[in-house]
Symmetry: C2
Subunit: 212 residues, 2 copies
């Protein structure tokens, strides 16, 4: 019997690497269009230009491919956001750059909106990780800005991070998925940046702090 070695993730020749990434891209496309369960391996392999059997040289199962799509695109998104904001000074300007980069990236990968939401039932850890990793990076960046005195002090930076992520997610969702626009209009970006600016720069609350 042939050893039938499953191709390992790292040890691929250039040819193998190309095939694998074509499968990931085709998976993103088909999962987005059909949903995880209605996406067939036949359609995915067709999209990648390979035979069905080839699929199983690179992935253990359909679920495994979904995991790979979410994890790899997650890396890309986080790297894109980090790159977009690293050179920018001032919290509000960083938010502006970050939201703009997020909308641009999501417009190219709108399928991810629906794909991430399906992964809960395939691998709930991957689902949680998608949000946690984004939130952790965001919260850390906000904390740094707070420490630098660029924004008011917030005693719950994590909640702040989720709130801001929610703003970006929903405004993107509206235009890219619900209304099926090609991009998020500049006016929407301007509105939320203004909203965020007011929220972050406004003077600290007048109410006295209560214990507990």
């Amino acid at each position: 019997m042939t050893p039938a070695v499953r191709v390992e993730a790292g040890s691929l020749t250039a040819r193998g690497e190309r095939t694998r990434s074509r499968l990931v891209a085709a998976g993103e496309e088909v999962f987005g269009r059909r949903g995880f369960h209605d996406a067939s391996i036949a359609e995915i392999t067709q999209g990648a230009g390979v035979a069905q059997g080839t699929f199983y040289l690179y992935f253990e199962s359909k679920r495994d491919l979904l995991r790979a799509v979410v994890e790899e695109r997650g890396h890309e998104l986080r790297a894109t956001l980090a790159r977009a904001t690293e050179g920018v000074s001032g919290r509000v300007a960083k938010e502006h750059a970050g939201f703009a980069a997020f909308f641009t990236w999501m417009a190219r990968h709108r399928a991810l909106y629906l794909i991430v939401r399906q992964v809960e039932y395939v691998d709930s850890e991957v689902y949680r990780a998608w949000y946690r990793q984004l939130a952790d990076g965001y919260a850390a960046a906000l904390q740094r800005s707070a420490d630098a005195g660029e924004i008011g002090q917030f005693d719950d930076v994590e909640t702040l991070a989720y709130a801001l992520m929610g703003i970006g997610d929903f405004v993107g969702l509206r235009w890219l998925v619900i209304e099926k626009h090609r991009t998020v209009p500049p006016r929407a970006l301007a509105t939320i940046v203004q909203l965020v600016e007011r929220a972050l720069l406004a003077p600290p609350p007048r109410r006295p702090r209560r214990g507990r």
Copy 2:
């Protein structure tokens, strides 16, 4: 051949009504726990305490049940939010009451988080309607408050509505789904109400308006 009349939505006896709503509740539970595709009619009917064939007296298909779950719970949620805010005066107080009611309701129906996100592939109109109806009501309420001078003027109330929905959705998602808490902690509620307060009450932007 027996006419095999499918039971119509409105014309049900009390017994039929009870069975139907047991199926909807069981559907909510099983769809939430297993996901749409892995939810079996067998498990749903078992949960409702009826035989499999009974299912098809009330719903055309599994998809049809999912639609019904989302539509009926959507009505309930919108009614709950309207009731929670109608007596309250002042925009910030309304927001506080609204977010609190949203978190309470979602804590009881956290499965909806995942269910709504699956309905895109079953009936995308139902998916869009869930968000649009919530956003429309929210935007209208915000506009009324703006007209009453309770908050600053915003020229894009719709985007504002989606942004605020996003805040509630994500903060709820974090605690109820990602971190699997039983409730959203008061501290998180306080943080976002404060955030919203600052954003809505802050003085209008200093920047000059640019035409077009």
